[in-house]
């Protein structure tokens, strides 16, 4: 064992001291295409797993601001060109109807079903989601840098809104692993936003 810790904070970026997994590489490949076309935020299970929680997952939730059809067409075709397929269909016009309705869509790698990216369209009406989207925390594993919610926000969202066994365990993992950098004032501020979402 060397003297490294599980993570370190450098210039507000959380650096996780581990090698990339095949799951990370799947997410990285998708995000590299997505970010050519749009901003994004990775939320939920992958936040815990990427920081060391030992559990499996089938989907990676990614918040993406609603985009117009032209922009979506370019993104969709880029994903297909790069060997992803969409659960909801091959016809971009049909798939865009989901985005218009603010319904989630999913992408997996060609000839695979899992893991998949759950593409979650958001706008300002989804207040809690929009808040986390506009307050990203950068995190880095080797050469893969990506954006997640503030860790305190992610913990409270799992504890207050989601609340299942898996979510409570994820929150406990984040509270314990990041105990040295969590800020009480952020918990207080974010709890108000999250409780408003619950009402």
């Amino acid at each position: 064992m060397d003297n490294k810790k599980g993570y370190e904070l450098k210039e507000d970026i959380i650096i996780i001291n581990r090698d990339l997994t095949e799951l990370d590489i799947f997410v990285k490949d998708f995000i590299e295409i997505l970010k050519k076309h749009s901003d994004y935020l990775i939320v939920s299970g992958f936040v815990s797993i990427s920081t060391g929680r030992t559990r499996g997952t089938e989907d990676i939730d990614v918040l993406v601001p609603v985009m117009d059809k032209n922009k979506f067409q370019k993104l969709f075709h880029d994903l297909i060109y790069n060997n992803f397929w969409c659960y909801q269909g091959d016809d971009v016009d049909e798939v865009y109807l989901y985005i218009q309705r603010m319904d989630n869509i999913r992408f997996a790698r060609k000839n695979e079903v899992f893991p998949n990216i759950e593409f979650v369209p958001i706008n300002e009406m989804r207040k809690a989601k929009y808040f986390e989207f506009t307050h990203p925390q950068k995190i880095k594993i080797k050469d893969f840098e990506f954006k997640i919610p503030p860790v305190e926000f992610e913990i409270l969202y799992k504890e207050i809104i989601l609340g299942g066994k898996k979510d409570i365990e994820d929150a406990k993992h984040l509270r314990t692993f990041f105990s040295d950098i969590l800020k009480e004032e952020r918990f207080k501020k974010y709890e108000i936003i999250i409780r408003e979402e619950k009402q």
């Binding site: 599980g6 001291n17 799951l23 060391g52 030992t54 499996g56 365990e169 406990k172």
Partner: protein, 63 residues
């Protein structure tokens, strides 16, 4: 020991011993390989997307 206590203990150890990430990598990749193998066998030699979509609709993952 309850599951939640184990989660806390593991996270505490992980903070000071990143070598434990190697175990996590093995578990995650093992699950990915098992899933990939299962679906390749289920839909082998057929129209993968068409059959996968039927399956996903049946299990409620798509409408």
């Amino acid at each position: 020991m309850k599951d939640i206590d184990y989660v806390k203990l593991y996270a505490e150890k992980l903070k000071s011993n990143p070598d434990l990430f190697k175990q996590q990598k093995m578990l995650i990749e093992s699950q990915l390989h098992a899933s990939s193998s299962l679906f390749n066998n289920m839909f082998a030699g057929k129209n993968f997307k068409e059959n996968a979509r039927k399956y996903l609709k049946n299990v409620g993952l798509t409408k």
